[in-house]
Structures are given as structure tokens and as C-alpha cells.
Symmetry: C2
Subunit: 525 residues, 2 copies
């Protein structure tokens, strides 16, 4: 790897050609950052998607060990990309070096977790129901099913996780693990990061002996590039992390295709926090510190940043509010990952201030391009009556409201739309109310956090990152954790197929040693 | 149960009110069959959906044993409905008594299989990743996830399975098993069957002590009834079995909602059959008998009826064609389940005959309302060049074509759109070609059948009934078999939740004795 060249990754190599040109913006200085990138043309989109389709069956049929090697080579390659990659991420996003380093580690860890999933192999959910030729009145045939790859997946990189949810992020890792070729539409805010990572993936594909069609990266500032990709007949599924507007637009395009395809779009969330009375009385100020820190971590640019804090008025309430004001006012202004995010934050903040909302605290005024963490207050009545107040402000803003009673708190929970997470702060004496709240919230969110903060999404099989619309477009799947692989697969069933044609996952004798369900009984058999 | 009253099932009782009226048509005589039914009004749709929503959280939280009791009570109730039900099915559909009896048995069996799934409980896919407070640099929280019900499901009854895929069919059984209230839009071709079955479900709901909002049945001949239901904000998912036009219309409505919802529509298929050279030479005539019988079984009104038969020209080809002509010509004309199906069949047959197609055999001319099983022939070139020839003719029609070479046969397989099944007839010496075919077909269909017929869909965990579009709108799920429950669920994750608030499926000590994945290891722990 040496130097940026302003290239897509296409046909197994760099390609600088294209249409309209653009540059990244250095996040801290707002100065253009060379080199020049070009929007992929319709012909380039077609080249990438067609090449992906041409190798889809071959890639789906690769032994799991080959795909595991690919993912490990990619993880190693990200490490080997060294400072050039880390520095470019920092320049393009203004994320601090420690965070960038940690995010690279997480990205590598995700890739290795999927490699381990492939080594284990049981994720294919093999089911065998063996023949019973003697059954009356009809003999029972032999039926065996497993998950197989859907086909080429279009991945849209997120701006807030330039490594972990971008070119080699969770969507790409899970799709490649499933055996799906990937065409990434890079986020235009970090094209240099994308180019460097795309080159690492391309090198890993080649080093693993796989055909180049397995991976392509296309740059584009115009929405047309992504739209052409989602509309392309060869694309079979879409992964997206970003704004509601963007995710919904892609969902609508995909649904309107002659052959509709699934879209998993993760579109953000307010991640409401509920502070119950006993917890409020005992540790209101401590909760305020935790939540203020979580809400302003990375300048509120996590999908799981808490944006709404609710409590029942009573003991501890003044202490909580006081500490929130102090903490938010004391939080340094900061730079958001790109100008579009900053403009969006400022516009949303201005819009919300036209609603019945009070600014309770704001960090010292900031020099552009920095923005100020902001604490807002409203009433439960206004929150219930104003849908705008129940939708996300992406960035470091926290809206707060105190309920007059537990019933009022439950009413707010009931009025909520879908979110990624909800957090409950409670003590043992709060359990009766907490039980009611959990019963409501489990139908509103993908994850319920107890006495903690929603930020910090553990990458493990039990994680659910996704939630009822508008948090995501398909709450039946998670974008984080190894179960994310299921988004890019479908079951196929073989009836009476001879042993010679069965994949090893479904053969008698279980040559891969998988956990399978045989005649209804799960086991390693 | 006594007598038909022309009623919806709403608010736990019969409701004869509504808008436009209609009657069933006795399939054999085409005479109107009393009583009169009325299209559900928008207000009735709202009542049903709102009542379902009001009890959704309560129903989702019922112990699995309660839902298992409901399903068993329903299965028993279908048996107790006795001859009145069976005779009404026969009158409304012209299906022969033996088939109706067998279908009732299958419907009861499906319900009991889901009850057994609930007894076992492992279907919730519980994952536990336990806390590791000592982990560096961040402690690992305790995370536990399981599947929970989505909410109210709208089910559209199919006309070809008036019991097994209608009011108490596979979609209703799987949705109730998941803990989702169900609102059925009954098929207007069998309103009497629907009324009787709806009453059985209503009685089972009451007998199980569940609130009436758990189930409603609405009649409607107008598409408006279904459209209002799918658009209703309280509905969270849709199950449909029927025509491509109907399924796609519901899919489009659901995708265009402010809050889109998943639609599992199973929309039919040509179910291509491939006869490989050695099998053709050895048993061409026998294969012809099997496939002709499968294609005309129940007058071709199975989703899995074979509609396309392909071979490589060579030994046995003349014998296969000859026997096909004899068998189809000798198959008695029959009555289709309702006039709309007959009109659709006749229109499709007329349309196909405007393409480069030859009628090779047809049963003796039939008196209305019977239709004639029909054998059609075309060339591979015309099949590849005429998309109309690669789409379903619903009813007893079989299109055939001989390929000049194995490569030409593979080219047809590659050109196919999504189908529910594909069938391969082959001998050991055909394995090299069969291997190539399986590699292609597994990306085209949900189930590959070897040396058999696609009709006769076994209800078991390994079954996949669903396939790439246009066979179904979401190939990631199956409509048949116990895995169908996954369509109506989503995962929810609890982070650090106290034991007192965890559902039994996720508690330490595994009180329900489920197969779970704990810290990555599956087992009954």
C-alpha cells in the first residue's frame, strides 16, 4: 500500500475514471483533502454488479475455510495498513487517534469473529429429517436444509464508523462470510479511508485465490451512484447504515424493483433512557454523569447515543438536572465527522427550538466547524403532543423531561416509535414499575439496557442492533454480532438428494462436526 | 357449531354486518351458495386490527404452554366440526372428499406440530453471553437474546388449500404460535368454510382463556378489505398465499406504508423438472407417468405442481413424449376451485397459445365448468426467447421442451427466474451433469427434488416452501414447516437485566430446559 490515487476498486484493481469529481474535506480545517475522486458512472456500477453476479455461485460454493482465510487476511491487512490508514481516518473524520485505533481493532475483531463462525460452521442451521419409507399412508422423503448465500450484496458505508461500519465493516464482513460478493458504495465523506481499505480487501481477495468479482468499491457523492447500484438486477440485497432519509430512499428503490430485494437499513434512534424513582433518589447525580458522558461520547455520533432522558419527578430530580446542566455545559465543543452531519445537527437543533423546548445548558460557544453539546428540556405533555420531539437529533443533543407519575412515564414509553435501544435505571424497589416498562419497551426496541449506557455495542452472538421501524427497515435481523450473517442468506432444501451431491454440512456422519437438528433433535450429530 | 350465518368473527363473536354482499359459488354447479356474506367495512377492519393491537403485548407474553393449548384446542375443534365443515369445503371448492379429509388432517397436524414446537421451546433461539467484569479494557456486559412476537399479523387465505392454507392454515398456526394476534381476510371463494373455521378458532381462543382480540376473521370480495387491513397502522406483518398479482399488490402496499412491514407472499411457481439423459433412456416412460400425475393432481392447483418439463434429446425421449401425451389425454377434465381460477387458467392458456407453442395433447373436451388438462410443447430457443413461457400457468397445464445438448439444458436452468422447487430425474451416470444443475438450481429455488415429484410438501423442520422472487417476496423464510414461525418474530436483547425480570427462556439454570447457545456453545444448558 502506498499513497492515495483517487481510485475505485474494480475488476481487481484501481480505476480512477468516472464522472463528476469531488474531494474529501479535512474535518478540522474544512480544507479540501486530495486526491480527487470521481463519481462512479452507470457503466462502472454495471461492471461491478455484473462481475459480482458472475462469481456469485462460485463464491457461495467456496469451502467455509477459504472464506475464513479471506476474512483473516483482511483483518491482518487492516493492521498492516498502519499509520497511513489511521491518519487518513483522523483527517477525514476528526475522530481522535485513540478512537480510530480502537475502531480498527473492533473492525479486525468483527472479521475474525465471522472467520471463527465459519470455522465452527454451525451457523448454516442444518436440519435433517431422514426418510421413513415405511410411513403410512405416504412414505416420508429425506429432507435436508441449510442456509446458502443470497448473491451480490450492495453495502453503503456509514460516516460515523469509517472503519467498523464502512468498506470492511460489519455489513461487508457478514456478507463475505455468508458467501456473497460485495459491492461497496463508499461514503463520500471518507473516500481516502475507503480507497485504502478497499485496496486491502482487494489484496486479500487475490491472496486467497478468489476471483476479483468478489469485491468492488465505488466512490460517489451523487445519490445516483447508490440508486443505480440498488436498482441493478444483479444485486440481491442491501446493507445500509445512516440517516432515515437515506435508508428509506434505498428501501423504496429496492421495493419498487421488478424483482424486490431485502434492505437492511439501520437508520438511527433516540435511545430513550428511563430513570425510575428509587434510582433517581439514590443516585440521580451519578446517573446524570453517566448519561451525559454517553450522550456526548464521540460528539453524539453513535447510533446508540442517548437522545432522550425521562424520569418521574421526585427526590433526586433536582440533583440529576443540576448535574446534567453542569456536565453538558462543561463538555468541550467538537467537530462532527463531516459538514453534512454538522449542517444536519444545526438544522435539527434549530427546528426543535421552534417546538415547545427550552435550552437548559450548552457548552461554551464554539468556533466553526465545532458544535456545542446541548441539553434541552420539555414537558411530558409536549413530548406526547409533538412527534418532532420523539425523533432523533443526530449529534450531541439530549432532550429531557420529567413525568408527574409512573403512569405518565409508561404513557411516554407506549407512545414511542421504534428505537435501537432503551435504557432503564432502577433499584430493587423500582422492580414493579421496571417490569411494566420492560413489557412495553421490548416491543419498541432491539435492546434493553439495565443500569448502564446504550453506547458501546458488544460484538457477540447475543447482541441485537436493529429495532422496529424507523430504527431499522427489518427488525427481524441484527446488524451487529455474528447473527448478522443471516441477513444475506436463505434456506435451501434438498429432497432425496444422493450423498455425492450433498454439501458436507448436510452429509450423513456430519463430516464437519456441526451442531445440527436431526429428526427434530439438536446435537453435534 | 350449527349452521352458517354469513358472519365475520369479530370481538369474539359473529358479526353479519358490512358493505357489499356476495355469496359463494358452488364449484360444480356454479350456483350461488347461501348464506349471504358482506364485505367488511373500513370500520370493521379498524375494529379487528385495533383489538389485535390492544392484546398484542399480553398475547406475546403468554406462557408457551397456553399458546400450545390454543393450537391443540383448535386442532381438536376442526375435528369436531365434522361433516358440516367437510361438506361445505367440497361444495365451495369441488375438491374430492378424500382430499378434503386429508387436508383437514394436515391442517390439524400443522397445528399440533407448532404446539410441540412451543412445548419444546427451543425455537426462541436463546443466546446468552455472560458478563466478564474482569475483561480489559472494558468489562463485558451480560447479554441475552431471544425471539419475540412482532405483533398483529394479517393473513390472507389461499383458495387452493381452503383448510391448510386458509383461516386456520399454516400462516395462522405459525403466527399464533409465535404469539401474534391474527386478523384473517378470508378468501371470497370459500366464505362458508372460513366462517366455520373462524368460529372454531374463536371458540378455542375463548376456551383457552385468551382475550377475543387474539383472532378475527373478515370476509371481503373487494380488494379494498385486504388493502385496508395491510395499510392499517396496527398490523405488523402479512402472510399471503395466492397469485403473483395479489401478492405483489400487497407487498407494494406494505412497502409504501409510513412504517413498512414485512410481507411473506407465496405466489406460485412453474416447478421445472429436468430429466437427464441416462434416466431418460432407462425410464423415460415411467418418469412421464409420474410427472403427468403430479401435474394434474388436484387439477394442477398445488403451488408445487410441475408446469415445465425439460430433457436432453436422445434415447427414451420419444417414449417419454408418447407416454405424456397418452396420460394427459386420458386425464379426466375437472372443476377448478373457483370461477376466477378457471378464467385465469383459460386466459393463460389462450395467451400461451399465441406464443410459439404447440398443443400436444388435451383431455376430451369438457362441459363447463370443467377444464381440460393440457400438454404443450415448445423449443428451447423459444423458451429462452419468450419470457411468457417461463411463467406459471396456474392449473393443469404442462409445457415441455427437449434440449439439443446438456449445455442447452444448463442454459435454460440459468435463465430461470425464482421458483419454489426444481426436480431432477437422474441415474448414477448422470451425476456429473446433475452436479452442475444443482449448483445452478440451488440459487433459483427453495427445494430441489431428486427422482420424485414436487407435489406433496412434507411439513417438517427441514422443509423450505418459498423461493427467490417471484416464487415468494422473502426467500429468507419458509411458509411450510415449523421454521415458518420465524417470519413473525424478531430478536430482542437484554443487557444486564436482573434475573427477576428475565423471561424463563433466558434465565440462569435454564428452567425450561431449552437448547440454548451460552457463551458461543450450543447445548441444553
Amino acid at each position: 500500500m502506498s499513497g492515495l490515487r483517487g481510485e475505485h476498486w474494480l475488476r481487481g484493481g484501481g480505476d480512477p475514471s468516472g464522472g463528476e469529481s469531488f474531494m474529501a474535506i479535512e474535518a478540522r480545517t474544512q480544507a479540501p483533502l486530495p486526491p480527487t475522486y470521481r463519481d462512479a458512472t452507470a457503466a462502472q456500477v454495471d461492471t461491478a454488479a455484473t462481475a459480482a453476479s458472475a462469481v456469485a455461485a462460485e463464491f457461495a460454493a467456496t469451502p467455509a475455510a477459504v472464506r475464513a482465510s479471506l476474512l483473516r487476511a483482511l483483518a491482518d491487512g487492516l493492521g498492516a495498513a498502519g499509520d497511513e490508514l489511521l491518519e487518513r481516518v483522523e483527517a477525514e473524520t476528526a475522530l481522535p487517534p485513540a478512537r480510530v485505533l480502537a475502531e480498527r481493532g473492533r473492525t479486525q475483531d468483527q472479521l475474525r469473529q465471522f472467520a471463527a463462525l465459519l470455522d465452527d460452521g454451525s451457523w448454516v442451521a442444518a436440519h435433517l429429517d431422514r426418510a421413513r419409507p415405511e410411513r403410512q399412508p405416504q412414505p416420508k422423503p429425506d429432507l435436508r436444509r441449510m442456509l446458502v448465500a443470497l448473491g451480490p450484496v450492495a453495502v453503503f458505508g456509514a460516516s460515523n464508523f469509517p472503519l467498523a461500519y464502512s468498506v470492511a465493516g460489519g455489513d461487508t464482513a457478514s456478507a463475505l462470510a455468508a458467501g456473497c460478493p460485495v459491492v461497496v458504495k463508499g461514503h463520500p465523506a471518507h473516500p481516502g479511508t475507503s480507497e485504502l481499505v478497499g485496496r486491502v480487501i482487494g489484496a486479500a481477495v487475490a491472496a486467497t485465490g478468489l476471483p476479483p468479482g468478489v469485491f468492488a468499491l465505488l466512490h460517489g457523492r451523487s445519490h445516483d451512484v447508490g440508486a443505480q447500484l440498488v436498482r441493478h438486477p444483479a444485486i440481491t440485497a442491501v446493507g445500509f447504515t445512516g440517516s432515515h432519509r437515506g435508508g428509506r430512499a434505498l428501501f423504496d428503490l429496492a421495493a419498487a424493483r421488478p424483482r424486490p430485494i431485502p434492505v437492511f437499513a439501520e437508520m438511527g434512534s433516540m435511545n430513550p433512557v428511563f430513570v425510575l424513582p428509587v434510582a433517581l433518589a439514590r443516585r440521580g447525580a451519578a446517573i446524570a454523569e453517566q448519561i451525559a458522558a454517553s450522550a456526548t461520547l464521540a460528539m453524539g455520533q453513535f447510533c446508540t447515543s442517548p437522545g432522550l432522558l425521562l424520569w418521574v419527578d421526585g427526590d433526586g430530580c433536582a440533583a440529576l438536572q443540576q448535574r446534567l446542566r453542569e456536565k453538558i455545559a462543561a463538555t468541550a465543543p467538537g467537530v462532527l465527522v463531516h459538514p453534512g452531519i454538522r449542517e444536519g445537527f444545526e438544522a435539527a437543533l434549530a427546528d426543535v427550538q421552534r417546538q415547545p423546548v427550552e435550552v437548559l445548558a450548552r457548552a461554551a460557544s464554539a468556533a466553526s466547524p465545532s458544535v456545542c453539546p446541548t441539553l434541552l428540556g420539555t414537558s411530558i405533555t409536549d413530548l406526547l403532543g409533538t412527534p418532532r420531539l420523539r425523533t432523533e437529533i443526530y449529534g450531541p443533543a439530549l432532550l429531557t423531561a420529567g413525568a408527574a407519575s409512573a403512569d405518565e412515564l409508561l404513557a411516554v414509553a407506549t407512545a414511542l416509535d421504534g428505537h435501537l435501544t432503551a435504557t432503564i435505571h432502577a433499584e430493587a424497589d423500582d422492580l414493579p414499575l421496571a417490569r411494566q416498562l420492560v413489557a412495553i419497551l421490548q416491543h419498541k426496541v432491539g435492546r434493553i439496557v439495565w443500569n448502564g449506557v446504550p453506547t458501546g455495542v458488544e460484538v457477540c452472538p447475543s447482541m441485537v442492533h436493529g429495532g422496529p421501524y424507523p430504527a431499522s427497515t427489518d427488525a427481524r435481523f441484527s446488524a451487529v454480532g455474528t447473527t448478522a450473517i443471516a441477513r444475506w442468506t436463505r434456506p435451501v432444501c434438498f429432497q432425496d438428494l444422493p450423498a455425492a451431491l450433498l454439501p458436507p454440512e448436510l452429509q450423513d456422519g456430519n463430516p464437519r462436526g456441526l451442531w445440527r437438528t436431526v429428526d427434530g433433535a439438536p446435537g453435534r450429530h
